[in-house]
């Protein structure tokens, strides 16, 4: 009987321990969605919808606030413009809207629209399997511009790494960074336009 008691106690302890260890699972689906929004905003020209997402169009909602309601109102951000409030609330498991991430995104978008897109279109650069950009065909870049392109790739990659890190930090899980990066890596390739180059897991270049 006493033995049984010990066993029961042990079992209980295990159960309790099991309950106490709270595993915070990486919200893969939410991260995917957040990455897609972010990338769609960077890649697609104004008015152009991300090819594979069915999100709502831009909906400016920066009306002045009623008195007293201000403190309950979330920070105004580009993501809020993209994601209608109710929609965002349903799946707010991943936060990708901090001032720093937004500043990064605005800079990445400007760089993408003015400089990276033509290089992707010409096949000079492509998306890597780890969520960065890399030179694909140096021959497609005139000699005079090769160093600028190298510089551009370095700047873009520095910003991307910061985004992955900042998204992880903003969600209170710095250790999620590799998962965030892997999620973004898949989504960059998913959202890539036809004709752009990307790397498969083995590092081989393929054309979308």
């Amino acid at each position: 009987m006493r033995k049984v008691g010990v066993v029961l106690f042990a079992a209980l302890a295990v159960v309790i321990a099991g309950c106490v260890t709270i595993n915070v699972y990486f919200p893969a689906a939410a991260a995917e969605q957040a990455a897609r929004k972010f990338i769609g905003h960077v890649i697609n020209a104004p008015g152009e919808l991300p090819p594979s997402s069915s999100s709502a169009p831009d909906e400016p909602s920066s009306e002045p606030l009623p008195a007293g309601a201000a403190s309950a109102y979330p920070p105004l951000s580009l993501v809020d413009l993209l994601i209608p409030a109710a929609h965002a609330a349903e799946q707010a498991d991943i936060r990708i809207s901090t001032p720093r991430i937004e500043a990064l995104r605005a800079r990445m978008r400007a760089r993408f629209q003015s400089r990276l897109k033509p290089l992707l279109d010409s096949g000079a650069i492509g998306f890597t399997h780890d969520g960065l950009v890399a030179l694909h065909d140096a021959g497609a870049v005139p000699l005079a511009q090769r160093n600028q392109v190298r510089q551009l790739i370095a700047e873009e990659n520095a910003d991307r790494k910061q985004v992955y890190q900042q998204v992880a930090v903003a969600n209170g899980h710095a250790e999620w960074e590799p998962k965030i990066q892997a999620t973004f890596a898949r989504e960059w390739i998913n959202e890539a336009h036809g004709g752009w180059y990307y790397q498969n897991a083995a590092g081989d270049w393929l054309r979308k």
Binding site: S62, P64, L65, A67, G68, A70, S71, Y73, P75, L76, P99, R100, A103, L104, A106, R107, L135, A138, G139, V141, L143, A144, Q145, R146, N147, Q148, R150, Q151, D159, Q162
Partner: protein, 666 residues
């Protein structure tokens, strides 16, 4: 192997010397000569009643090491004629397949073999390309070659043997050369003329395009190491050597190059370049075979501006964000970079003028420079200029002295530089070109005219002067910290900025932090500067814990107060925009009769957090807080009702108020 080679040679000779009466058919599975391997060889010699005997040679797979040929197919159909007792002529059509660059896909070949003279001469005519090859019969690996309009791509196999990542592109070459090829070693020397030549590398970092020029070379390879020495005169074309891009001038430039190729590395152990009117250079460079720079040692460089910048530094300046730079003068110096770090540099300017079209920097009449080394100390240098403009700040003429010691360039003596009617005094400046670009500055500013500064920076017209001391400013890669503070003597009072720091200055979202104190400002001057109506009195206050992210306020704790004076109708309008509406017993129609009102106290506070401003005033009252407490008659009281105000909305309203538009009194 050796006996087989000689046997093969004998065999060929036997065949060639045999009287051409009957048919001869030789087949061999494998033939080897030094540096040459042939498989599936089929040679036929048949009598021909109508003319000379017919010679047919098919080789299924031919490897020629020196040419980098592997598995080349060869087919020859022609005739064999005896010219003299020991002189034979072979003439016919040669077709090769699977050669690098498609070399000799189709060519007319005439070969003359002279046993007495011990020579073989082969003339190949492949369209526009002519090749004349001569060799001793007993030493077929020693060749004299005369080539005209040889497509560069045909030499791809040769290049790959020396430099695996190299790719030859368009263009052609005329060359006269000797070639000694063994199994493992090749020696070659000769003259060349390039026509619009191009090469590239798999990483794209070492490349050339449209090179025209002539010169001579010597090449030696042994095993997997090769060295090549080139002396050339180039005319036009583009060249990319890692970070350096050169658009060569159309007139002649002299180049001397000694390049050593080893597995994994390319070393330009001696580079001399002179283009006559812009750049002279002597030094050495090293790259990985992918074209990543591993070492640069420029012993001496002399550049004449603006030509040198336009031809050789444009691409580099663009990577630094300086797309369009106008320049004049002379720059000379030296530089040593190796082992992943800068070891030393010397830079000397003579009558240098530089101006960036973006307006960030401009110098006029600069002379002198720096002499820095990572360790030890160097002789002091001077650096003087007639004018210097940083962003839009115009600095006057100055004469500075510098010295490098233990890896730091230091200002050797304090210097005063005229700035907008006042002076910028540099007490101390240490700068390290390595170790995350450390910069330490101690400076003081006196008597700088605020109207002139406001105009320069595009601010509203401030009156007064700027003075202050920053005993220590540290910049190290990610962060700029300021000890001490700036004191602005403006609006008849003082604005003190302390605990100023700037993080990530070059990233997307720099973070600026500071504490600001306002002391005894003349409210009339403040309100007229910002065009928000008019108030009189003295203003005190503080903005504590100010944080600007990407130059936009994200947090602060601000409070302003004044001890009485008069306030205008329009200033009340402006304040009412902040506090969420005007309260008091008076109707706006009545108010409008008066231009201004007396007040005994003004107070306003805003604590910004999460884009929401928590407002406050002099004291809380029922349902709000007092912003302005009136005095005398008509007695007014401005009461704010909104405790929490959305910051972007507030900023928008303030902007509208200062523009003098829209707000109305209800």
């Amino acid at each position: 192997m050796r006996w087989r080679s000689s046997l093969t040679a004998c065999c060929i000779l036997l065949v060639l010397c045999a009287p051409a009466r009957a048919a001869v058919h030789v087949q061999a599975g494998l033939l080897t000569l030094p540096g040459v391997t042939a498989q599936h060889v089929d040679l036929r010699l048949e009598e021909n009643t109508a003319g000379p005997p017919q010679l047919s040679l098919q080789i299924g797979s031919l490897d020629v090491a020196v040419l980098g040929w592997r598995g080349v197919g060869l087919s020859f159909e022609g005739s064999l004629a005896r010219l003299q007792a020991t002189r034979w002529q072979v003439k016919g059509e040669l077709a090769l397949s699977s050669t690098p660059g498609g070399a000799l896909r189709q060519a007319r070949m005439t070969a003359i073999l002279d046993r007495d003279a011990n020579t073989a001469q082969v003339v190949l005519d492949a369209g526009t390309t002519d090749l004349d090859i001569a060799m001793p019969l007993d030493q077929p690996s020693h060749l004299q070659i005369d080539a005209s309009q040889l497509p560069l791509a045909w030499a791809q196999g040769v290049l790959e043997r020396i430099w695996k990542a190299g790719k030859l592109g368009k263009g052609s070459v005329d060359a006269r050369l000797s070639l000694d090829a063994g199994d493992d070693a090749v020696r070659s020397a000769g003259n060349f003329t390039l026509h619009s030549a191009a090469f590239d590398s798999s990483s794209g970092t070492l490349a050339a395009q449209a090179l025209d020029g002539r010169g001579k070379w010597r090449l030696q390879t042994a095993g997997r190491r090769s060295s090549i020495e080139v002396d050339a005169t180039l005319q036009g074309g583009q060249l990319l050597l890692g970070p350096l891009y050169a658009a060569l001038p159309d007139h002649a430039s002299q180049v001397h190059l000694q390049a050593d190729f080893a597995p994994g590395s390319v070393r330009l152990s001696s580079v001399r370049f002179n283009d006559g009117d812009a750049l002279g250079l002597r030094g050495s460079m090293a790259f990985t075979s992918d074209g990543e720079v591993t070492a640069v040692d420029i012993e001496a460089i002399e550049a004449r501006l603006p030509q040198a910048l336009q031809r050789y530094a444009r691409s580099w300046l663009q990577t630094l964000g300086f797309g369009d730079v106008s320049s004049d003068g002379l720059l000379s110096g030296s530089l040593d970079y190796s082992g992943g770090a800068l070891r030393s540099f010397r830079l000397n300017a003579s009558d240098l003028d530089l101006a960036d079209a973006g307006g960030r920097i401009a110098v006029r009449g600069m002379n002198g420079g720096f002499d820095w080394r990572a360790s030890g100390s160097r002789d002091p240098t001077t650096l003087a200029w007639r004018g210097l403009r940083l962003w839009s700040l115009p600095l006057g003429p100055a004469h500075t002295r510098w010295q490098s010691r233990d890896g730091m360039v230091r200002l050797a003596a304090p210097v005063g530089i005229p700035l907008l009617g006042g002076q910028l005094r540099l007490q101390q400046l240490d700068w390290s070109p390595v170790s995350r670009q450390h910069l330490g500055v101690s400076l003081a500013v006196t008597g700088v005219s605020m109207p002139a500064l406001s105009k320069t920076l595009g601010w509203p017209q401030f009156q007064g002067t700027l003075a202050g001391a920053i005993p220590a400013l540290h910049y190290h890669g990610e962060q700029v910290d300021l000890e001490g503070g700036l004191s602005l003597h403006v609006f008849g009072g003082f604005i003190d900025v302390t605990d100023l720091s700037l993080q990530r200055p070059f990233e997307a979202a720099p973070l600026l932090q500071a504490d600001i104190a306002l002391r005894d400002l003349d409210l009339q001057a403040v309100t007229s500067t910002f065009k928000v109506g008019s108030m009189t009195g003295r203003l005190d206050g503080a903005i504590k814990g100010l944080r600007l992210l990407a130059w936009k306020p994200v947090a602060f704790d601000a409070s302003l107060h004044a001890d009485g004076g008069r306030i205008s109708q329009r200033a009340i309008d402006s304040l009412s925009q902040l506090g969420g509406g005007l309260a008091g017993g008076l109707q706006s129609a009545v108010l409008k009769i008066f231009d201004s009102f007396g007040y005994s106290a003004f107070g306003l506070s805003c604590r910004l957090q999460n884009e929401v401003c928590q407002m406050g005033g002099i004291e809380p009252v029922d349902g709000g807080y007092t912003i302005v407490e009136g005095r005398g008659l008509p007695h007014i009281e401005v009461i704010g009702h909104q405790r929490a105000v959305d910051w972007p909305t507030l900023v928008a309203r303030l902007k509208a108020a200062s523009k003098g538009g829209g707000p109305t009194v209800h």
